[in-house]
């Protein structure tokens, strides 16, 4: 058959596309369960890492069960909604709902006899989504640990938010001031003052990602204020 005829070109294109589409569909479907499992385990790993439990991905499910005693879903007024499961709740979708229909998950953890409140976060960095978890001490004010991650921040700059040197800065910071008003924690460009209990050093070259992170902390944590103040 003439390689330059229209018929040959069409037939070749159709066959190629069908073969490649089938191949890709097969690869994607057969790998999907493994990928979903990785994502689920990583989420558990991130959640428990905020209370200082270092688990590798394989043992994370077991340790998650051990330390997370209760998973609650809150309504905007701070009361619980038992109809929704906390772990599978998609924060991204929640944010697009009207405020009074949004649900806010919180994980109650217990480690060495102490109670912790782990709050999941979700927001926008410079290029794409960023998310994370903040663990509060039993005083519901002091941060004991933080874990952040991102989808596509600039490697070496904004992407550093998922590094422990940055996450560790949050330890000991407070989200309420002395009067009990909510102030959140900010990533400060140029470095926070050493005695600033509401600020951490932002990342050089990652200012826009850090601004997104500051905004995420403030907007998400704000929703938990009624709950945190109530009990």
């Amino acid at each position: 058959m003439d390689r330059n005829s229209n018929a040959y070109t069409f037939i070749f294109a159709i066959i190629t596309v069908v073969i490649i589409a089938a191949g890709l569909a097969f690869t994607a479907t057969s790998l999907k369960p493994l990928q979903a499992e990785n994502v689920r385990k990583e989420k558990m790993q991130n959640i428990i890492s905020t209370i200082g439990v270092d688990a590798n991905r394989d043992e994370s499910a077991e340790l998650f069960k051990k330390y997370i005693k209760k998973q609650l879903v809150l309504k905007a007024d701070g009361t619980t909604d038992d109809a929704v499961e906390a772990f599978t709740l998609d924060l991204k979708k929640e944010l697009h709902k009207p405020y009074d229909q949004q649900r806010f998950p919180v994980y109650l953890a217990e480690k060495d006899g102490k109670k912790y409140y782990i709050i999941p976060l979700f927001g926008s960095g410079l290029w794409d989504d960023i998310w994370g978890y903040i663990a509060l001490d039993s005083d519901k004010n002091t941060i004991v640990g933080a874990s952040f991650d991102h989808k596509g921040e600039t490697p070496g700059l904004g992407a550093e938010i998922n590094q422990s040197w940055f996450e560790d800065e949050f330890k000991g910071k407070k989200i309420f001031n002395d009067n009990g008003d909510f102030v959140s924690v900010k990533a400060v460009k140029g470095g926070a003052k050493p005695d600033d209990i509401h600020g951490v050093d932002a990342i050089s070259g990652g200012t826009l990602t850090c601004n997104g992170l500051t905004q995420m902390l403030e907007e998400r944590l704000k929703n938990y204020v009624p709950y945190l103040k109530k009990n």
Partner: protein, 223 residues
């Protein structure tokens, strides 16, 4: 065919493998793939993983296109090549997500960007369409290795001078808040050069590499 009888490792075939490392380097001589050389060389580790991923995609696409070279209609050859490269990239991405989740997170968007790496399309067009699979394989290995070397050299200098680290380890000492708290060279007032982290310095580093290479290898100097 005479081509088929040629020794697998004849001098000509070996030069396919070694030329791209120096005389015909894809980045410094052919000036292809500059885009990713700027983007992912802030740190050494992503640069290495990126080089490996490009190697995988280039080897397979070069060999596949070479096998199909007598079947592909020339009018749609670019689309067919793109299709093959894109499918391979998606497979790499999916497999990494399933079996090497951490690496896949490390590379994030750059895996998808392999599709736009000019080296791959360049080699498919310039080489795979006109040569047999074995030669195409050698050409792919050579070119991706040439790409890898330059990437690693740039990333080495950028990570070392920009953040004082190599593969994440603080090789120059630890920088504390004050001179007294700092160790290593930071103790004597050394500062990281933040400019190295920005894309322009990657370009300048490439320029310096080209300069050094041409002063050593006079064949490359145009009249």
């Amino acid at each position: 065919m005479a081509e088929e009888k040629e020794d697998l490792f004849s001098k000509k075939n070996i030069s396919l493998l070694t030329d791209p490392l120096n005389d015909d380097n894809p980045i410094t001589v052919q000036v292809l793939g500059i885009c990713s050389a700027l983007a992912i060389t802030v740190q050494l580790k992503p640069a290495i993983v990126m080089a490996l991923a490009v190697m995988f995609v280039l080897i397979f696409s070069n060999v596949i296109v070479s096998l199909l070279r007598n079947l592909i209609p020339s009018r749609i050859r670019i689309i067919v090549q793109l299709l093959i490269v894109a499918s391979l990239v998606i497979i790499v991405d999916q497999v990494l997500k399933a079996y090497a989740y951490d690496v896949s997170k490390e590379l994030s968007v750059f895996v998808g960007l392999i599709i736009t790496n000019c080296i791959i399309m360049g080699r498919l067009e310039a080489f795979a369409l006109g040569n047999g699979p074995w030669k195409a394989f050698l050409d792919a290995v050579g070119n991706s290795a040439g790409y890898a070397i330059i990437l690693v050299i740039i990333a080495f200098f950028r990570e070392l001078l920009g953040s004082g680290k190599l593969l994440g380890y603080e090789v120059l000492g630890h920088k504390g808040r004050t001179l007294a708290e700092s160790t290593g060279v930071y103790h004597y007032g050394y500062e990281n050069n933040g400019f190295m982290l920005l894309a322009p310095m990657a370009l300048i580093t490439v320029g310096v590499i080209i300069w050094v290479q041409r002063s050593k290898n006079t064949k490359l100097i145009e009249e």
